[in-house]
């Protein structure tokens, strides 16, 4: 992190994100003073540090933005839909200014946009007098502030005049300055600051507002206490020393701003490097274990086992560093939903659940796009027009729910809408038209729903008119499958649609089940394997015909991997079947042998093999040989579509 303006840019992005969040929440709770303060604080910090790092256009715009919002904080303007709209647009403008970089000069277009926004902002603020005090009315309170700047404050650019002016903006300010700490002239370094200010501030602003003024002066001594609220006593409260003694700290919760967090920032490529190293370590450890097994030496065996335990611990710890809460992605979607529902004239509300669910950083990075697709689809195609909803007796405002949870080794993320549901007949017609299925094919509803993910299913326009979906659904499935996940759809006519993404917790190292097919070893992601059974010989005998296995009264279709892989047919007796779960259904994969669990370091494949359906990557086993990692969902899909092509 050598470049300070990069650091600022990163911080500013976070500030802009929390600003957006607060604005959106404020729209739902216009009277919430805490949210108004949060908006104000974000703007204030942005202004201060923006100036410091040379983002002066950004700082200037923020200043005006802040001034306008001050009207809201003071209760002189009220929070309206229009105000939030302008404020959000202003936030986007700030993001644009930030993207220009430090010391950049905004071009005429951007500058004009800024002026227009500020004009709108001021107009909105002025034309909407608070009237019935929309923001919780605050009584005027009197605060005593004793401030002794750090000795080096003046050298760091502290300007007492600006501080006092800023405080005076909050209300009526009386102040005095004491020089009693100043050392004798012969000991005095003229650039040191020894002065102490005693201030009395009468303001309707909050304690946070005062703290904000001191935001960048935290290394000094700051003592803020509330005087008695009775104005009469406030007059006598001019004597600060007594006031300090009389008034205990009234507000304990609001400590000085800028809460200290015990976390560190790490560049993500360092985490990736750590992960690579760990991957090599896991492979080396597998080799060690194999050698130790071969030698059969007890001491070596114990050491190898201990190393294995340590490596597993290290793996879990490293993986946990890479885990981030899904709220990082979810947070972005409030805005998407708001803008879309505005644009399409379909009132919709976003509800999120399981925001704290943790997902691997690399997974998070790839999730935004597919989720935007799904949410767009939900609002555009899933949710009915207000008229249709009214006719169906549904509440006017539709709901889109984003839900995340962990289950087993997977993360489940679902996008649910309470719209009209998928139209199975329309999908069927469309699929026949696109030659994805034959007119005579008898497919279950579930199988029909899966068709919306087929490439070429949708060409957008024609589809919206039949209320189907599928804009970019094949793209969604591709991204999710690249992450070694799967997509499931459930829908009920008139009730709504739910799309669920199942993703592995991490991409770098997975727990796998090692199996043998022909000469080769393959890894099945353990998370997708439900059980392993023996393939009954009579089933084998008639394998050429029906491929269905009866397991505890349940019929499970199965595919033989040797056939799938184009390998010579296995002559092995007593083969095994790994039962995997694909899109909610159980399917058996016939393998020659099940070799056991394997901690698998996933390595990407080259351009030659990446495109092969059913392969997710490669890994190196303890004996140095290469094993391929199978992607169960595509493998099964490929197997099931094969007979149709042949027919």
């Amino acid at each position: 992190m050598s470049n300070p303006s990069d650091t600022f840019a990163q911080e500013a992005e976070e500030l802009l994100q929390s600003l957006e969040q607060s604005l959106l929440e404020l729209e739902g709770a216009p009277g919430n003073a805490t949210l108004v303060d949060a908006v104000f604080r974000a703007l204030h910090t942005l202004k201060g540090s923006g100036d410091m790092f040379g983002f002066s256009a950004l700082a200037r715009f923020t200043h005006h933005f802040e001034t306008a919002f001050d009207q809201v904080r003071e209760g002189r303007a009220r929070v309206s839909h229009e105000l939030i709209a302008v404020a959000l647009a202003s936030r986007d403008h700030l993001a644009a200014l930030l993207a220009l970089g430090a010391e950049a000069v905004a071009d005429a277009g951007i500058a004009a946009e800024g002026h227009a926004l500020l004009a709108r902002l001021n107009a909105v603020v002025e034309e909407q007098p608070a009237g019935a005090a929309n923001v919780e009315a605050r009584a005027t309170r009197t605060w005593h502030i004793r401030f002794r700047p750090a000795t080096n404050a003046l050298r760091n650019g502290f300007r007492p005049d600006l501080l006092l002016a800023e405080l005076a903006e909050l209300g009526r300010l009386d102040w005095s300055c004491s020089d009693e700490l100043v050392p004798a002239i012969e000991d005095l370094d003229a650039s040191d600051c020894w002065l102490v200010w005693e201030m009395t501030l009468e303001t309707s602003g909050s304690r946070e507002a005062i703290d904000d003024v001191f935001l960048f002066l935290q290394d000094g001594e700051i003592d803020i206490t509330a005087a008695d609220e009775a104005p009469a006593e406030a007059e006598t409260g001019d004597e600060p020393v007594t006031a300090d003694k009389v008034e205990p700290q009234l507000e304990t919760s609001a400590g000085p701003a800028a809460p200290k967090s015990d976390s560190v920032r790490v560049q993500s490529h360092r985490l990736d490097e750590l992960m690579d190293q760990l991957g090599e370590l896991v492979i080396a450890q597998a080799r060690l274990r194999r050698i130790s097994d071969e030698l059969g030496d007890t001491t070596l065996g114990e050491t190898a086992e201990e190393i294995e335990r340590l490596v597993t611990g290290l793996r879990d710890a490293t993986l946990s560093i890479r885990m981030l809460p899904i709220s990082l992605v979810f947070g972005k979607f409030r805005r998407v939903v708001r803008d879309l529902s505005e644009e399409l004239g379909k009132p919709a509300q976003l509800v999120t659940e399981g925001d704290e669910t943790e997902v691997d950083k690399n997974v998070i990075d790839s999730l935004t796009e597919p989720l935007v697709h799904l949410i767009r689809n939900a609002i555009d195609h899933g949710i009915e027009t207000p008229e249709t909803r009214a006719a169906a007796g549904k509440p006017a405002a539709a709901r889109v729910t984003l839900r995340a949870r962990q289950a087993g080794g997977e993360v489940l993320i679902s996008v649910t809408d309470n719209g009209g549901g998928l139209d199975a007949d329309a999908i069927r017609r469309r699929a026949i038209e696109r030659k994805l299925i034959a007119a005579t094919d008898d497919l279950s509803e579930e199988a029909l729903y899966q068709l919306i993910f087929e490439p070429g299913f949708s060409t957008a326009k024609a589809l919206s008119s039949v209320s189907g979906r599928g804009v970019g659904m094949d793209a969604v499935r591709r991204v999710i499958e690249d992450l070694r996940g799967t997509v499931e759809v459930r829908s009920r006519t008139g009730i709504g649609t739910e799309v669920t993404l199942r993703l592995p917790l991490t991409l770098a190292i997975i727990d796998g089940l090692l199996v043998r097919v022909g000469e080769g070893s393959f890894v099945l992601p353990l998370a997708s394997v439900e059980e392993c059974v023996e393939l009954p010989e009579d089933e084998e005998a008639r394998q050429s015909g029906r491929s269905i296995l009866r397991i505890r009264d349940q019929l499970v279709p199965f595919v033989a991997l040797d056939t799938q892989f184009g390998f010579p047919p296995s002559d092995r007796k007593r083969r095994r079947v790994a039962i995997v779960s694909v899109e909610g259904r159980r399917v058996g994969l016939v393998v020659d042998d099940v070799l056991g669990q394997h901690q698998t370091v996933v390595k990407p494949l080259s351009a030659y093999h990446r495109g092969i359906e059913g392969l997710a990557g490669g890994t190196i086993l303890g004996d140095g040989s290469v094993a391929l990692i199978l992607e169960v969902a595509t493998l099964v899909r490929r197997a099931q579509s094969a007979p149709r092509i042949a027919a």
């Binding site: 030659y608 092969i612 040989s625 391929l628």
Partner: protein, 152 residues
């Protein structure tokens, strides 16, 4: 074929089906003894398998297939040439199967002749030219056209 420069070019020569081929020595990372191969199911026969070269997974390429030669058994002189080439614009390490590795030869532009369209059994587009060295005809591979996954 048209962009031949005058700087001498160093090539590593190897043998396939009795013919001598040359590959730009700057592309060659190492030459290794045959390694256990993992067959990739449903793969392009040009890249039928994978090997572990010092901890990385490297695709094996079978030039015999691309040039329409018959498949051959491994022999004692067989080697894998680990090359660094661009595949679909991506720097990729590949392990090229060779019947034998011969020598390092220097060729100058003057020595390199265009590939006669009818003189070879194979499509001329895979080669930059031919050069006669020590009485042997060396066919110089064009790495740009030889290695893409789908034969052009």
């Amino acid at each position: 074929m048209s962009d031949l420069s005058n700087t001498p070019q160093t090539a590593l020569t190897f043998v396939l089906d009795g013919e001598t081929f040359g590959v730009d020595v700057a592309r060659v990372e190492e030459i290794v003894d045959p390694l256990p191969m993992t067959r990739a199911p449903n793969a392009d026969p040009f890249a039928p398998a994978l090997v572990n070269v010092r901890g990385s997974i490297v695709p094996v390429v079978d030039l015999r297939h691309r040039l329409g030669m018959a498949a051959a058994e491994q022999r004692p002189s067989s080697r894998l040439l680990v090359l660094n080439v661009l595949v679909d614009g991506e720097p990729t390490r590949v392990a090229l199967m060779a019947d034998d590795v011969d020598a390092i030869v220097e060729t100058t532009a003057a020595e390199i002749e265009a590939v006669p369209e009818l003189g070879l059994r194979w499509p001329a587009k895979y080669f930059r030219g031919v050069a006669r060295k020590n009485g042997v005809l060396v066919i110089l591979l064009d790495e740009q056209t030889t290695f893409p996954p789908q034969a052009a």
